[in-house]
């Protein structure tokens, strides 16, 4: 299984209630970076983990329509 798919499965199973409304970077089934906007989280993850491909997501905590 590719690494990103195992991170995806881990993301699906877990409840990120402590990160409500935040953007997350997930590597090796762990949240390694969190923050208020996508750009900052992606940049910090690139700096701290330059050779990895994290799963980037937002913890959406509101009922929503696009």
């Amino acid at each position: 299984m590719i690494e990103s798919y195992s991170n995806y499965e881990w993301f699906l199973k877990n409840d990120f209630k402590n990160y409500s409304g935040k953007w997350l970077a997930i590597i090796d089934k762990k949240v390694v970076v969190s923050g208020d906007n996508a750009k900052e989280v992606i940049q910090k993850t690139k700096t701290d983990f330059p050779n990895r491909k994290p799963l980037i997501t937002k913890v959406r905590d509101k009922l929503s329509i696009l």
Binding site: I2, Y5, G21, W23, D36, A38, K39, I42, S64
Partner: protein, 151 residues
């Protein structure tokens, strides 16, 4: 071959839950790529990508300006073509497509940024998509002859 994904039960701040279809994709720009569990939305005309993500990976914001209307709000957007890889469990299952997309430009002073949503144009044309909520499965079967899985 069929790509299989799942729904995610997501806790809301009002104490309830939403169950959302999340598809694993890699979005590639000129500088880098990111992997996201994108939402899939049959009510969305096209794929939308927030500006922060587009800039982070080097997606060029040179396309035509437009407005995206959602319920009672409108957002400024730019048209682009995005390379999106639909990731399977194994590398050989993955499919890459160039999909017409909209970059949602950030509103001044606003911190709100939604994540990537895959809409109808370019996605629903390329896959037969089956939502099996009771079995917690979302199945993507390529429909076009020119879509190839990686070997």
């Amino acid at each position: 071959m069929v790509l299989t994904y799942k729904f995610k039960k997501e806790r809301l701040r009002n104490g309830g839950y939403a169950v959302r279809p999340r598809i694993l994709v890699e979005l590639t720009g000129s500088e880098s790529s990111i992997i996201v569990p994108a939402l899939i939305d049959s009510g969305c005309d096209t794929t939308v990508i927030p500006e922060g993500i587009a800039k982070s990976i080097g997606l060029e914001l040179k396309g035509k300006k437009d407005k995206l209307y959602a319920f009672r709000e409108a957002s400024d957007v730019k048209h682009v073509s995005a390379n999106i890889t639909f990731l399977g469990k194994e590398y050989r299952q993955s499919v890459t497509l160039t999909i017409p997309s909209l970059i949602v430009l950030s509103k001044e002073g606003s911190k709100e940024e939604e994540d990537i949503t895959l809409g109808v144009q370019g996605v629903f044309d390329s896959f037969e998509i089956l939502f099996k909520k009771q079995q917690n499965k979302i199945m993507f079967k390529p429909t076009k002859k020119n879509i190839f899985f990686k070997k």
